[in-house]
């Protein structure tokens, strides 16, 4: 349950039995061909896997000599890599005889995915969501309700994602007999970081084979945005043992690390304990968690999965921050050159890859690096944020036919 000094299980004793059961049942399930076959069937027939890799020639032209390829997790059912994890955990819940799942959600993506899997498998579902988020994402609240889930607004603390995790933990402490807490990222107490990684591993398993088939070589680097870090961990997993493949994680730098308004836990945080794990945390002098800031709701979290902390500390992975402004510039570039509107989360990964490509063109002009970025989700959910950023208001360019 540890990654070097990171990870662990900093939770009330009341949850120990459930975590132990989960750890055991997860291993049994993954060793059970029937479970693996059913999960694979849902991935293929329900979620639409494998997702393709798409080369982006027009965008690459802006990134030095790099050839940027994206792994299209945006094409999954419900629009992001989140479904990979919820299908796995929801199936596991059924296997453990638990009839109810609870989840935390920030802007609503993981909540929608969880509600989706619950509807599919006939599980009861409750989603905790910060009051600040339910207010600004009313459409996603309703979407979960349409899927049959119950949505609970959390007013405590900063009333955002971290507080909805707290509230889900509180629920779980009281309901652990019949309830599984379906954590949405590679964070939280052991075995969640390991389990979510394994359910997201499919991203890199597919991408590695697809890259080898199409290009006949491993990529120079794989890259992804990092909030909690589940899409990045999925993208890294099968490449960790390929030492020649560099791993790049791009954190949300918000307004910039010097401003203190960011969500870059590794680059701009310090080691601490949060939500059951030891990892990099945004905290004050006393260890009180500090609010994170990012234009991307999905990266707006003051911690990070412990294995990322370890990859960063050990030097196997490189973690760099990307500001709101850099991410939105990349959002616009990929949208207008390739017709792919990414989630703002994923735009951080794109921005990082462009920067990397440009840097390499200066440092190693003879290199034509193949960089595979995880396009973790689609941007439909972010259109309103993008409008605001680019100062658009949905007014047409011109009106004709009026008199």
């Amino acid at each position: 349950g540890h990654y070097g000094i990171f990870g662990g299980q900093y939770v009330p004793e009341a949850l120990n039995a459930a975590l132990t059961q989960l750890d055991r049942e997860f291993d049994l399930a993954m060793a059970d061909p029937a479970f693996v076959a059913e999960l694979n069937r849902l991935r293929v027939e329900y979620s639409g896997r494998p997702t393709p890799i798409t080369e982006l020639p027009r965008l690459s032209a802006l990134a030095g000599n790099a050839r940027i390829v994206v792994k299209r997790e945006d094409l999954n059912h419900t629009g992001s890599h989140k479904i990979n994890n919820v299908l796995g955990q929801a199936l596991l819940s059924k296997r453990m005889g638990k009839s109810r799942v609870i989840a935390e959600t920030g802007a609503g993506q993981h909540g929608v995915a969880t509600a989706t899997a619950a509807a599919l498998l006939g599980l009861e579902c409750r989603v905790y969501m910060g009051k600040v988020d339910t207010d600004r994402q009313a459409l996603n609240v309703a979407r979960m309700q349409l899927l049959g889930a119950e949505v609970i607004a959390v007013e405590s603390g900063s009333a955002t994602l971290k507080d909805s995790m707290n509230e889900a933990m509180r629920d779980w402490v009281a309901s652990v007999d019949d309830t599984h807490y379906l954590i949405g990222t590679v964070a939280g107490p052991h075995p969640f970081p390991r389990m979510v990684k394994e359910f997201q591993r499919v991203i890199s398993t597919e991408a590695r084979a697809q890259l080898l088939e199409r290009y006949g070589e491993l990529p120079y680097a794989v890259a992804a945005c990092v909030g909690g870090g589940s899409n990045a961990m999925g993208m890294f997993a099968d490449f960790i043992d390929d030492p020649e493949v560099k791993l790049y994680g791009f954190e949300a730098e918000g307004d910039g690390i010097p401003t203190g308004r960011h969500a870059a836990s590794i680059t701009g945080g310090s080691i601490g304990v949060l939500h059951g794990m030891r990892t990099y945390v945004l905290q004050d002098e006393d260890g009180q968690t500090v609010e994170s800031h990012s234009i991307s709701a999905g990266l707006d979290y003051p911690g990070v999965g412990p294995e990322h902390a370890w990859l960063a500390a050990s030097g196997r992975g490189t973690y760099e921050p990307v500001t709101d402004a850099e991410a939105m510039e990349a959002f616009k570039l990929i949208t207008q050159t390739e017709g792919i509107m990414p989630a703002i989360e994923s735009a951080h990964g794109i921005a990082g890859a462009i920067r990397l490509g440009r840097r390499l063109a200066e440092e190693q002009p003879d290199l034509s690096p193949l960089i595979c970025v995880c396009l973790s989700g689609r941007g439909d959910k972010d259109v309103a944020s993008a409008l605001k950023w680019f100062d658009l208001d949905g007014t047409p360019d011109e009106t004709v036919g009026g008199f």
Binding site: G8, P12, D163, R170, V173, G272, Q283, D286
Partner: protein
Amino acid sequence: MRAAEPVKAPGAQLAGAGISGRRILAAKAEGRAALVGYLPVGYPDVDTSLDAMRALCRPGDGPGVDMVEIGLPYSDPILDGPVIQRAGTTALKRGVRTRDVLRAVEAVAEAGATPLCMTYWNLVDRYGVDAFARDFAQAGGAGLITPDLTPDEAEEWMVASEEHGLDRIFLVSPSSTEERIIATARACRGWVYATAVMGVTGARQRTSSQAPQLVARLRELAPDTLVGVGLGVSNGAQAAEVGSFADAVIVGSALIKPMLAAEDAGTPADLSGLRAVVADLAAGVRSA
């Protein structure tokens, strides 16, 4: 995980009891359970919270609590119910710092009760485990109750608590396995905190039927261990009931409620409501 054999800690009544265990044994000698009262430092402000802790110890003419569980407010208190959350969040907003716990320890010790600290682990981790233990012990503190630190992750804390002579009060729960009850009891010094219900802190209408069962399991698996029962006790009658089978009765939200009410009434320094609850509880543990 070690084998499931009952703990026979030879020093349970002596060294293993630690400072806080000895306080429980003193109450036992009076034929009653000890009373442990929880209050967060810093609510409604630091000074008033110290006054409140003093009032816990000496509510009036009659007796007060034996021990004060000084809560350290934390931004992400996953085991706390709404009442403690409100007090803690308010305290943080008003600027309480980790170091304020040291003043609280001194105040409690001066008032004649045994000071413990209930804290989520990151605050200690951030302060530095050894530094915190040193300063806490030096201020007169008896030990720590650690809601999100189990013996599994406690290596550093075991060393520091031994070094500075502090009690380690870990939690057990109705869902704990035999192996874990034994191992946790073994890791504790002072006493074991038995969480009476599966759930967060907060006063409840009725005491839990899981509490006597859990205590009975502890008695069987770790016969020489002292047991405090918390989560849900709200009045003297419940305290009496819990005191009939536990070695210590822990009360939290029921003490904070009158303080929140006082703030809502515009008189945050009015501790009369708190004193009344403490008096009732203190009488309760003596009536069993």
